[in-house]
Symmetry: C2
Subunit: 600 residues, 2 copies
């Protein structure tokens, strides 16, 4: 019996894998995988984020990387019991490479590997100072040249960016820049974060006033300091802002607020960026070795062009500029768009006493927040998961262990269940004229997020207002033009308006590169985000990972970082290790560098 235990099965395969890889026997390693197989690697083997699909791709990766990476000592994590169901056996393991320690997850079918996840945990000799390695703080003994912690911090603030240069410059100080900055600080990588707003957290504070996180607290923890157990499930934006501000302070980040980046260029000879910033009125030239754009995964605001925008006499705002309803009581507002921001803004405007019309130009995916939390996230990110012993790290790794190629297959049944549970709700929405969809293949919200980062609303109440007509809905027609005081649709309908809000989304992140660096560099890098799923707004070919995110790009020393709080937490780890390795001049052979297939 014991021979058939999940633990024994995993042990057997890991032992064989370890021996094959240590011996350089690529065929033996590949033969441990079944024909339908996936190996997702986060930095450990590929110095890249890559998913190898099928034995041929795995063989190709190993042929390229094995000699340099020198993996060894694959062994089951004895603290995380193996398990299994439906013919799948799964477990956790540790391993090493020449330069790093790693952690992984494995799924077997019939004794062969179906999915393998390998991630880099830490670089040998450059471990973070935590736990047993935490700093002493007080310097015991006596030393006439002793500087206090405060004196050292103050000296660093004066010198870094002036008499000394940061190794990494992060443009953008939202949750992405902050989480990455915290990890780099722990790794001893001199880093400056520049942020145009006055205070850390302002990127949240300055959004529309009713905004709360749409993701729940268990999904949102930052590295190092998790939210406390009394933190709200869906935190209000200003509370998130305050948390980010304190986090920036206590994690000792070099955070330049009120600073805008004016230009950046890379010298391929000296391998150095020249970045000109305006720091609260003072022009400062920075010369980092690595540049990270963390200016928002949603990229630059996307404002459509309509005839008559110049003659319209009221206000026009992109959703990112909308302050909330307070000034618009009794006013007529047309909101163009029907995704998250559009719904939030419409509901708040209705609550604020405005006369508000939502213009839905194409179908939208709607899920109710409660249902999504329960069915979509509950096993990994919920109080129930915490009670069952799930940790944030483990949840992140399980999440990461599902190859993107087959993730939709796991998602579709969940959304079928949601559709069934809330059938009456969806019928009411359709009766109100709302155009619904469930993603190109019925795989729902999370796949839409990964593929295009848009196209959905997590309902926290606005749908009822659409259903009962409090928010007026106009769907199925595009905009023809604007007049002095109205939006005119293609079907001839005229919507009187004092304010037009364009809740029309954002462009690709490489648009930031075009603005800050050059069109050439933006085009060399190409489109960011998306999987290449060949679904709307995510053209093929298949990538298998998010385009250009958290990994090397066609532009040396240029990186893109962003996404929700979960991604900011999880992927900042792998990005920080890639940057640290380069600072220490370790050998970092990149396998399968991102190709460019689309300009934006």
């Amino acid at each position: 019996m014991l021979e058939d235990s999940p633990h024994t099965k995993i042990d057997t395969v890991l032992g064989k894998l370890s021996r094959a890889l240590e011996a350089g026997d690529i065929d033996a390693a590949v033969n441990l995988f079944q024909a339908d197989c996936y190996w997702r690697d986060l930095v450990a083997f590929t110095w890249n984020l890559r998913t190898m699909e099928g034995q041929d791709q795995i063989r190709d990766m190993l042929s390229s990387q094995l000699a340099a990476i020198k993996p060894s000592r694959f062994r089951q994590d004895e603290k995380e019991p193996a398990g299994g169901s439906d013919g799948v056996t799964e477990g956790w393991f540790e391993f090493e490479t020449e330069l790093a320690r790693g952690y992984g997850h494995i799924r077997l079918k019939n004794g062969l590997i179906w999915t393998l996840l390998t991630t880099m945990s830490e670089l040998k000799g450059f471990e973070e100072p935590k736990g047993l390695r935490r700093p002493l703080g007080a310097e015991h003994g006596h030393n006439r040249d002793r500087k206090t912690w405060k004196e050292k911090r103050e000296a660093e603030a004066v010198e870094l960016g002036y008499t000394t240069q940061p190794y990494v410059l992060i443009i953008g100080g939202g949750q992405g820049g902050i989480a990455l900055g915290a990890r780099l600080r722990q790794l001893g990588v001199p880093t400056i974060i520049v942020e145009r707003n006055e205070r850390p957290g302002d990127s949240w504070r300055k959004r529309y006033k009713s905004l709360c996180l749409h993701d729940p607290v268990w999904y949102d923890h930052l590295p190092y300091i998790p939210f406390p157990e009394n933190w709200p499930i869906f935190a209000p934006k200003d509370k998130v802002g305050d948390w980010l501000e304190m986090y920036t302070k206590v994690m000792e980040l070099n955070y330049w607020s009120s600073t805008t980046c004016k230009s950046a260029s890379y010298d391929e000879d000296t391998k150095e960026w020249t970045v000109v910033v305006d720091r609260d009125g003072e022009e400062v030239v920075l010369r980092p070795k690595q540049l990270v754009l963390a200016t928002g995964m949603s990229g630059k605001p996307n404002i459509p062009t309509f005839k008559g925008q110049d003659v319209f006499k009221g206000e026009q705002q992109h959703s990112s500029q909308h302050p909330g309803p307070d000034a618009y009581k009794g006013k007529k507002v047309v909101v163009i768009g029907s995704n998250n921001s559009a719904h939030d803004i419409c509901a708040a405007l209705w609550e604020g006493g405005a006369d508000v019309t939502m213009l839905q130009r194409s179908s939208t995916h709607i899920v109710r927040s409660d249902t999504l939390m329960d069915i979509g996230l509950g096993d990994l990110y919920s109080e129930r998961a915490v009670a069952s012993g799930m940790t944030t790290r483990k949840a992140d790794l399980i999440f990461a262990s599902l190859p993107y190629r087959i993730m939709h297959e796991f998602q579709i049944p969940l959304y079928d269940k949601m559709r069934e549970r809330d059938a009456d709700f969806y019928a009411d929405l359709e009766k109100a004229g709302f155009l619904l969809d469930w993603g190109a293949d019925g795989s729902g919200l999370f796949m839409k997020y990964l593929r295009r980062g848009s196209g959905y609303y997590i309902d926290v109440g606005a749908c009822d207002l659409v259903i009962d007509g409090s928010i007026k809905l106009k769907s199925g027609s595009g905009v023809s033009h604007l007049t002095e005081d109205a939006v005119v649709l293609e079907d001839g309908t005229e919507l009187p308006a004092d304010l037009v809000i364009y809740a029309t989304g954002y462009g690709s992140m490489n648009g930031w590169a075009a603005d800050l660096i050059s069109r050439d560099v933006a085009d060399k890098v190409g489109k960011c985000w998306g999987l290449g799923s060949d679904t709307p707004k995510d053209p093929g070919p298949w990538e298998g990972e998010q385009r250009n995110m958290w990994k090397p790009t066609q532009q040396e020393a240029l990186w893109f970082h962003g996404g929700n709080l979960h991604q900011s937490r999880h992927y900042s780890q792998y990005l920080s290790l890639q940057l640290k390795a380069r600072m220490e001049a370790l050998t970092t052979p990149v396998y399968g560098l991102q190709e460019r297939h689309h300009l934006s």
Copy 2:
């Protein structure tokens, strides 16, 4: 065999205890204790902090409290395995009273109770909003009167203390006031904290610049947000200050900085305090129902009177006023005192290039930091403890489970071990003329802290400077008088001085009550701190708990809170529950109200 397991033994006794208490059978309950026995109760049975010693005291307490408290359902915590060694069996249990849920620890000898700890965990119907009860944050649905989190916080800040009154006013915004304020906030008790400094954390920032915590990080966590795993073992004072500031913000405390309390008086008829404060130049009259003095357990600075203090032409400072060495390079400094502050200040002055003499007037207890951490705290508060599964809560409760009457018996062997380990070090100190002691009964540092809050130095390097003469030591003689430029000792020695620092400690906390309220109230309450151990600075009679701390005093609605970070964390829980119960007008019969035996 199973019948003899620790689990079974504990189950048997708890079952009998539960039945006896539920049936009101006091004799049956008392007979479960052995003759040499202790029952420490934190609020659950006594609405007080009390240790009953021996069967008679237990019988007396139960006779007084049982009918009102209605305890029931004592049951072993199945998640915490029972254990035992040396004839002692110990375990953990849950229980209930009519109004509350409780948690406890029990030790058996020969099947009878030796020590029992009962603590109140939460009030039924007033549970904290955490875990499964955490707030939703976002308010789903729609509501035209909706206020955002920010609007509500801003309204509260404007109204509380002006158009609405706090239920609790805390004077003093150091770690004590902040930790208590955080717990009261979670319990929904309207509270204002007033603090004379400009920013939360300034009580640390403004101390001498070399100051770092002497207690290690595992001992220092605040409630709700523990320090992260990269936090230094001994945090520098300014870093602690920053943490307290962010904590105050994200825990949403109503913290009035730059505010001094000018007077306070209690109206026994209306059961209300009238407290006049100066808030940044504006006089505000507050009318709280409960007043907490959290102005520092060390009380007011204690400055001795010497002839000639008025003719001395240099500077004179109490240690609490000393800014650090920067202005004293090349100056002659006499530090009167030989405890923690004296050593820290002398070492920093020597590092800063001053000519410094320490005047030791009486013997001091010295332990080396490394040794103390390893032998004294390591089992409960260390990375080793964390790795073995010890949590902060469990460590606090184990710590609390040892009755003060016998605690020194557990401490003495630890200090014997320390003395042995560092024998050479102590020999060197004595050779340098330093007067050593180990507490009245050899029980060392922690007992000194509990009894008198003074009399020791945790060595982080200054002792080497005393040993090698870098810090000049003069011991065994008191001060005769000061001249224009020197301190003259009773033995005739003249110590030239540009600066005299009085590292001479602090008075009892009720001195604050004398200043803020009246001498009458201060005298009615009497001395704070100390156990009544009949050792130096802690006169008898035996109290069994810390005098007047975290529990009702002879002055209705007046409370004292303070101590190190550990105590601020642990005892704030019991104080907050006592305050909440009063706000909700629950029946809170106090058993064994603190008597006054000493004025200060």
